[in-house]
Symmetry: D2
Subunit: 174 residues, 4 copies
């Protein structure tokens, strides 16, 4: 056994994951170094934890929705949709959908990528993909609605948000 | 708003966290760059997610125990206690204890550090600390017992495990 | 304050929930006494816990999927789809979908109802509804595939499962 | 297979759990019918769900702390410690401790019992036990501190809270 005091953390020298940070927003170029296909501009890398497994010994179906939430919140801030402060719109999650392609296991390094797929004046559709070594393990979609702080009146998306969505290739479904 | 396509992930240039990986085992030197005190030899850095908050808007008391589990499993492998394979001992968590010092919030970067505090022939005590900018937010302790695969007979700790515990400063309470 | 030693649990005398058990499979008649509409034949009643709330102080979007799983497992046993024993098919959750209609809060009593909506030879669609006082708070759907224990070969639904699905009104989409 | 439309929920005629409600506060007499020993005056019965298991196929160590929280919140209301409204003290969980005696499995019916073990002017110790058929599966203790809404000034326990704690047998450690 290597000396736990002086040893480097782990040897990932052949693993491209060694060169990208986990749980830190990633851009397209960073994601592509670990096999995520073109077309995604915002992502997070992470590693499967024990508590995300269920009694069948693979990642539980529900854990994926926690991952999508964990990227959705910083995505909202980064694209100026909302930072959950007073002036910001209320963002309401109207729907959640996931399609599971392959099981995931303890210690898997993965990337969650997300983007706006299409938008209207006061709502938009988010796409999500979970990738392991370039393979899509789970695809997901959710509909987001933006409201005023009264929780009733629809609030228009900010111009800068719409511009950023369009730069990423989102469809204007207005 | 910066261009979400070409922008670097985020600017952490003044943040020492920018130079250490999240969710990857850290050694003492790495942890000390983000303020973790001397005496810890194994840690993980991570960032508080939305789902770890409760309705009081800080990290829920239960989330900390998930963090301690998330470091305990790779610690067991790294110190050759058990990798949950056929020949390995059964490791049984006998107790869990946590003392909460300060609340934690969304987006906080933290380090979970762990070590063996003391050991006997077939059991040991683990210590845990959660640090934010050098401050101890939560301290924890758990008692671990090692058994044969029959789940009854006590199993001695491996010599290499004991040696590594002692190098880290654990007390032989045999 | 009433004497906590001798007092009855709580006074629910005007609450129809006082007369139905929580976390115990319910039939159509039982569910209808708490406002669940006709057409559901299998349900569970439960009460929102603190850990199911998020920092916005309502039930988190992810918690609903845990609820659907918590009814799906006994539903599989009750309809003889699978009890996760050796001879049983592997049941694979292929998709998950939820539409959120109204927020839910701490202490809300609710019913989760589920049924088979339609089936083919080796797969079926499950419907779910979460009801509070007769109002649909969340609707959901998931696609289930049944495989042999090799995890590859498709396994036909049992005759008794198909018969029970049809009695409940499921569509044969064969 | 019984007809899922008309069948009663399940036959629990030999199971004393059939006569007590789940997830509803229970008094001492109710708990004793399912084997909980004398000395507990407030409890909740519930049933282990799939999502509470981990990859080792028993209830995960962390799930117990969620259970203790799930009873602590209504206990605080019932004993007038706090209902989390404006005038109420802030209740701060200072420590959490659990000792695990026996593993629990899917579908186990259990009772969580709690009580105040001892109290001072502005803090108290809570005891918890998880019982299955009269056996203690897990024992737990936590220290609670009550503060003013400023989050700093210590707030005295209400007289009625102290009186109720003493009726239950708590020690005045003032």
């Amino acid at each position: 056994m290597s000396d736990p005091i002086t040893a480097p953390a782990l040897d990932f020298s052949n693993d491209p994951f060694a060169r990208i940070p986990l749980v830190t927003p990633l851009n397209a170029a960073q994601m592509q170094t670990v096999g995520v296909p073109d077309g995604w501009h915002y992502g997070l890398a992470d590693r499967v934890r024990f508590h995300e497994l269920d009694a069948l010994n693979h990642v539980n179906n529900v854990a994926y929705f926690r991952w999508f939430e964990s990227i959705r919140i910083p995505f909202f801030a980064h694209y100026h949709v909302s930072s959950y402060t007073d002036d910001d719109p209320q963002v309401v999650l109207a729907t959640n959908y996931a399609r599971y392609f392959k099981p995931m296991h303890l210690g898997d390094n993965y990337v969650i990528a997300t983007r706006c797929k299409s938008f209207r004046n006061t709502s938009f559709v988010m796409d999500y993909g979970v990738y392991v070594q370039g393979q899509l393990m789970c695809g997901s979609e959710s509909v987001i609605v933006t409201l005023d702080q009264d929780g009733v009146t629809k609030r228009k998306l900010r111009d800068e948000t719409v511009a950023a969505f369009m730069r990423d290739g989102a469809e204007n479904a207005g």
